[in-house]
Symmetry: C2
Subunit: 412 residues, 2 copies
């Protein structure tokens, strides 16, 4: 009897507009590989492996059209989890259980698409497999809107989020410029420790609009007095000032700004109201002009209707690269990409040991932030721009985007 | 000497994704009309007329491509104002000044694109012209995302905002469904007194997703205890619950839900920002599950990158209709549209006396709200759906939408 060679794929962490493109890349490659039997998906990441919640994806994706629709669907098609594996040796039954499921379903290749927490899972599982001489290959596929993974030029999902942020910032600038009155708009952008997404707001600048006029990143301690000085200086030059701030701004004592914006609700509980709201109040109190703060919130990570084509294509290619690396016998690695040319923009795919990625965080290097601490360098803009190029539009049905769902994964 | 026949156009009120399509409709018609000399635009609405801030649009729009780009640009190309004309007879110098400017620039036709406040301006100016036997025709062109104008089936700008809201709600539902944990997402939507935009969230429902599961409109007094009961009931049926709420919800005493968070802006309007946050706190305190509130904010009125083609085409046609009515000698009227068929959807253009529109507000009729007060009827969904159909995509340059700006109207 010939043992079947099956694969299993899981998705983990927070949503992006491109994570399903990597899933599509793996499925598409596996469907073409004659040595592969069944393509399984795990519901809710490693949690679904532990609970044996596996889906036969080979049966779901029988046309190119379905794979294309998957590729353009935001958030995790397979569902997600925030499950962190215990330290090995302390609780081996969790690992034993996972590999029992692998064995039961003849899983030779396990792919995990996620950020640095998910790469920790890849690292632990591959180390465990090595220590027990299990042949299952454990492969990581990167994703995160935060662009904070090491050993990769940029992360899948970042380009689409950056495109959404830049387009929205430009539209909000058009919205702000219409009245002949002094006013300030503050856009609060995701990224608690790394400012890449907030920096992407600079891509909104055009020949006619210099918004955002001020950019504050979590990499620099935030000074209230410098901020007020900056805003006053901008208001002396133009009537409407647009400001991009990271949700994770911290003061010079390392305290989050949003933690200082708390208020007491009617039940006496403290509610955090956000960095943007805090700064809105600060400007109203010290300058007194009209201010509006807008939190881009989850839409910046799930707005697949304005995804970057470059991002979607690269995310797909990273899935394909991971699959090919697995077939070559690699394990404990993450598919990665390296920029080989700036102009024209070009990348090259490869792999890297997952231990160089797991649990690390990449921040914006200091030389890409202007000494004033309120703007970024042209080099950083040039680094980001190509990642947002091209449009990956979904098809539309009844006026809204036509996405794909995992049967029964949605509440009915 | 033959007197030149010139036209003047102004825009007023809050931004929409379609207001420039009406401007494009007037410009495009006027360029083809041999009897028209110069097409002027007033910066910042009637304020620009008073200050003689007129722009020669004939010189700016010399190609079809430029008019098309104008049509796809969000917010007011000419700028806006919130200037309310004084009651006539009390301050005639304001009126005299406006008609002096009209005379100086040989303005025979004045078009004002705006909502019910702007129609008040059209009404006052046309009455003044009649009382003085001035021949200037004063014509209103409707716009507002709020869909609250009388004497029109629906308002230009509403369809695009509705499309943005529905697409975003669907994407946020995908974002919410991924974790295998109970959680609630609250989307706070614009519309202080009328719930049309909040109702549009229902257009996000698909064959696989019934989100939003609860919808609360300002037309119904809001009961905290009913709300908590509704949410608990939903959480007993599904793990993830998505709720759409209007920013303008009021309790049974008529008080805005989060009155503590409101403040008065410089125009004397109450600024609401806290309804979603208030309800988020309420659920945390009484139910204790994970909750996130998202305020769609200004993006719902300025996201031209996902505008409704139906909306853009109708807005253009209303500009054309207004121009034709002016040439026929009408004054004190607003261009309007009537729905002549539901299936297939069809409309007919015409005009209506502006006095039937100015200062009135159209709310959702009670029979389109379910008796439970937490959802809308299928009839309302069927009424809204056609308005969101088709996509009007802008072109892209360097990864972001390519919009048009009025030279010098933007801070440099």
């Amino acid at each position: 009897m010939i043992l079947k060679t099956n694969i299993l794929i899981g998705q983990s962490g927070g949503p992006t507009a491109a994570i399903n493109a990597s899933l599509a890349g793996i499925i598409s490659s596996a469907l073409k590989a004659t040595e592969i039997g069944t393509i399984y998906g795990a519901r809710n990441g490693i949690q679904g492996v532990l609970e044996e919640q596996l889906i036969d994806l080979s049966k779901l994706f029988f046309t190119e059209d379905l794979i294309d629709r998957l590729q353009k669907t935001p958030s995790m098609y397979l569902g997600s989890c925030r499950f962190k594996l215990p330290v090995q040796m302390l609780q081996n039954e969790t690992y034993d259980r996972i590999f029992q499921v692998f064995e039961k379903y003849h899983i030779k290749y396990f792919f995990y698409i996620g950020g640095n927490d998910s790469m920790d899972t890849v690292s632990k599982l591959s180390n465990y497999a090595r220590s027990r001489n299990f042949s299952t290959r454990i492969i990581g596929v990167p994703k995160t809107i935060d662009n904070d993974l090491m050993e990769i030029d940029h992360t899948p999902g970042f380009g689409s989020a950056a495109k959404y942020i830049a387009a929205s910032l430009l539209e909000m600038a058009h919205d702000t410029y219409i009245y002949d009155l002094p006013c300030v708009l503050i856009a609060e952008i995701m990224g608690r420790n790394a400012g890449w997404l907030t920096a992407a707001s600079a891509l909104a600048r055009t020949a006619y609009s210099t918004a955002p006029h001020l950019i504050y990143l979590p990499e620099k301690p935030f000074s209230t007095s410098s901020f007020i000085r900056d805003v006053k200086s901008q208001l002396s030059k133009r009537k409407q000032v647009v400001i991009a701030v990271s949700e994770g701004l911290r003061d010079t004592h390392g305290e989050y700004l949003y933690a200082q914006a708390s208020r007491i609700d009617q039940f006496g509980h403290i509610m955090l109201s956000g960095t943007g709201k805090y700064l809105e109040g600060l400007i109203v109190d010290t300058i007194g002009c009209k201010v509006r703060s807008v939190e881009l919130n989850v839409l910046q990570r799930c707005s697949a209707h304005i995804a970057s084509l470059t991002d979607i294509e690269e995310s797909h290619a990273l899935g394909r690269e991971a699959f090919q690396a697995a077939l070559l016998g690699q394990t404990g690695i993450m598919a990665t990409l390296t920029r080989t040319s700036d102009n024209p923009y070009a990348v090259e795919y490869g792999t890297v040991s997952v231990d160089q990625v797991a649990n690390f965080e990449k921040k914006i290097p200091p030389h890409w932030i202007l000494p004033s601490g309120n703007d970024i360098s042209q080099e950083l803009i040039d680094y980001m721009r190509p990642l947002t190029m091209g449009e990956s539009f979904p098809s539309y049905d009844k006026g809204i985007p036509e996405y794909l769902f995992l049967p029964e994964s949605f509440p009915s």
